[in-house]
């Protein structure tokens, strides 16, 4: 069982990201579950979404308290939310950041990855310059960093499920996949 937690802000597409990742894992033959932290979805407010992936039936209906992967879609959340709470030893952290990873201290020993998903989203005109929709870009980085699904599977899901600007979203996903740095990626 792989348990993934997304931290974002209302409007960034964290809930959709958790669904798209579930969908991609399902296409590869897994059972999946995707859900938001209940009842707090407002534009700009911190949003948490979850994905469970397993080759066996996913029966656990509790929230995810000890994730294998944590994704942070807005670095300003680090001041408000304990994003690494319960993260398993060795569990990967993927950040949307324009900064060099050497300058970031997450306060834990876990491997950290970073990609400038906001810049990629702006480049492909996803959302606005002040409020880019970074979900498809961050997913490209997640897939490269974790290998949770094949990038081809994810790109197919993005192409099918993106509610608008399908090709732009596909390009953003691919670009983030190529540009993500950290951990074992040279």
């Amino acid at each position: 069982m792989l348990e993934i937690r997304f931290h974002g802000r209302g409007g960034q597409g964290a809930v959709t990201a958790s669904e798209m990742l579930a969908r991609a894992a399902f296409e590869e033959g897994n059972d999946v579950q995707s859900f938001p932290m209940y009842g707090v979805e407002r534009r700009g407010a911190p949003v948490t979404a979850f994905t469970r992936i397993d080759s066996k039936a996913v029966r656990n209906k509790a929230q995810i308290h000890e994730p294998d992967i944590v994704i942070v879609m807005d670095m300003a959340l680090l001041d408000a939310v304990n994003v690494t709470a319960g993260l398993k030893p060795g569990g990967k952290i993927i950040l949307n950041t324009s900064k060099s990873l050497d300058t970031i201290n997450m306060g834990v020993d876990n491997p950290v990855y970073g990609v400038d998903a906001s810049a990629i989203a702006v480049e492909h005109r996803l959302g606005s310059r002040v409020a880019p929709i970074v979900n498809t870009a961050i997913l490209g980085a997640v897939v490269r960093a974790t290998g949770v699904v094949k990038i081809e599977t994810l790109l197919d899901v993005v192409r099918n499920d993106a509610p608008a600007k399908k090709e732009e979203n596909v390009k953003a996903t691919k670009q983030a996949y190529d540009e993500v740095r950290g951990g074992d990626i040279e």
Partner: protein, 397 residues
């Protein structure tokens, strides 16, 4: 061709109504049920669902519209939650008395105050005496399947009672899981068109809902009680038939999970049953002889099945995701009443997860270990509230 999609419990409910060819849908939106209404409205607007969507000003009116539609011979559907459901109360009783097989989905939400939109069975259990059949679901697939089965059960000429399919707020309603959407032709074969013997028809006039003098009223009520008794067998028959056609078995009255020859049995309802199955596997791997019984059908209450199931069991733990302010949790009280005079066993009731409080595998395991410990020691408390702020340390460790 059937297809598997990843959808919420609310979408599963909407697809259940669509596949059942509900002809009239009247509903009023309320969190966390709103998506059911939105989805059906868009299916109707897009021409994908051939139904009359009636916008109403309250849940009371929603059920009133369903009653009228059903009385006119149309298959009727609605959905609600918590305060909406309780506003509907009068009409739930009316639909049953009028012997109308209206099917609704209730998304279990806690009652305020304090305001809460999260999972709790109090709203549905407060309607247990209205004459609705009640089916508590543990997965989104089961929500869809139960809507189809509910029509099949309720429209039987010797049943003719309304039903409520129940799913937990957010845990099912807003969680996306793979759900198979069946081929319409297959559902049509399983569920033929609704064709009641008596309906509103200007060419064949009858009186409906008239006065029942004291020398008649009681006999009408007796007929309803008889129908509920017959529904016990009907639930099992329809469940069996459903399995033959669609290949899925949700358990009919009570779903048994690894109950063969167990010493200790845990009773659950709704989505916590699903998580509990993982915990049962873990405990069995550790050598404990424990099984799970999921109360799927709460009305009619499966008393006979319960007695069979507990024949060789000595200790029972009952989890209630609600408190209905009696002397114990609702299902624990029902189970005790059904067993009294038939079986003497130790029963401990756990009040859990009210207002959406999360039930982790760890907490559920601690509950089951507590139940297991009653094999060798005296019953400490008949009813215990689990994971309160004052006792969290014990249950979360």
């Amino acid at each position: 061709m059937s297809k598997t999609v990843i959808v919420s419990g609310n979408f599963a409910a909407a697809y259940g109504a669509k596949l059942s060819r509900a002809a009239v849908v009247a509903a009023y939106p309320i969190t966390p049920q709103t998506e059911v209404v939105e989805k059906i409205a868009s299916l109707v607007a897009d021409g994908e669902m051939d139904a009359q969507f009636v916008k109403v000003e309250s849940e009371h009116s929603a059920m009133a519209a369903c009653i009228a539609a059903s009385n006119a011979g149309a298959r009727a559907f609605t959905a609600s939650s918590a305060h909406g459901l309780t506003l509907m109360h009068e009409l739930l009783i009316w639909a049953a008395g009028a012997r109308l097989p209206v099917v609704m989905v209730n998304i279990n939400r806690a009652m305020g105050p304090p305001w809460s939109v999260w999972a709790d069975h109090h709203d549905a259990l407060a309607q247990k005496g209205t004459g609705q059949l009640q089916f508590f679901c543990e997965s989104n697939q089961e929500v869809l399947d139960s809507v189809i089965m509910a029509y099949k059960i309720c429209e039987g000429s010797d049943i003719m009672m309304p039903a409520m399919v129940v799913e937990d707020a957010f845990i099912l309603s807003h969680t996306k899981e793979p759900v198979e959407i069946y081929d319409q032709e297959l559902v049509d074969e399983f569920l033929p068109p609704y064709n009641p013997e008596y309906k509103l028809d200007v060419n064949r006039p009858f009186g409906f809902g008239s006065l029942g003098m004291p020398d008649w009223y009681m006999d009408f009520r007796y007929k309803m009680a008889e129908a509920m008794d017959k529904a016990v067998d009907r639930v099992e028959e329809v469940n069996k038939k459903f399995k033959e056609v669609f290949g899925r078995d949700h358990g009919g009255l009570i779903e048994e999970y690894k109950t063969d020859g167990v010493d200790v049995l845990i009773f659950t309802m709704g989505s916590i049953s699903s998580t509990s199955k993982d915990v049962i596997d873990e405990l069995r791997a550790e050598g404990h002889n424990i099984g799970l019984a999921r109360l799927r059908t709460y009305r009619p209450f499966p008393a006979e099945k319960l007695r069979e199931l507990t024949r060789n069991v000595n200790v029972v733990g009952v989890l209630d995701r609600s408190y209905t302010f009696g002397h114990m949790g609702d299902s624990a009280g029902e189970i005790k009443a059904a067993l009294y005079g038939h079986k003497d066993l130790i029963l401990k009731n756990y009040i859990v997860g009210l207002g959406g409080r999360d039930l982790t595998p760890k907490i559920l395991k601690n509950i089951m270990l507590d139940t297991l410990s009653l094999q060798d020691k005296e019953l400490d408390e008949e009813v215990e509230w689990v994971d309160l702020r004052i006792n969290q340390e014990r249950w979360r460790r």
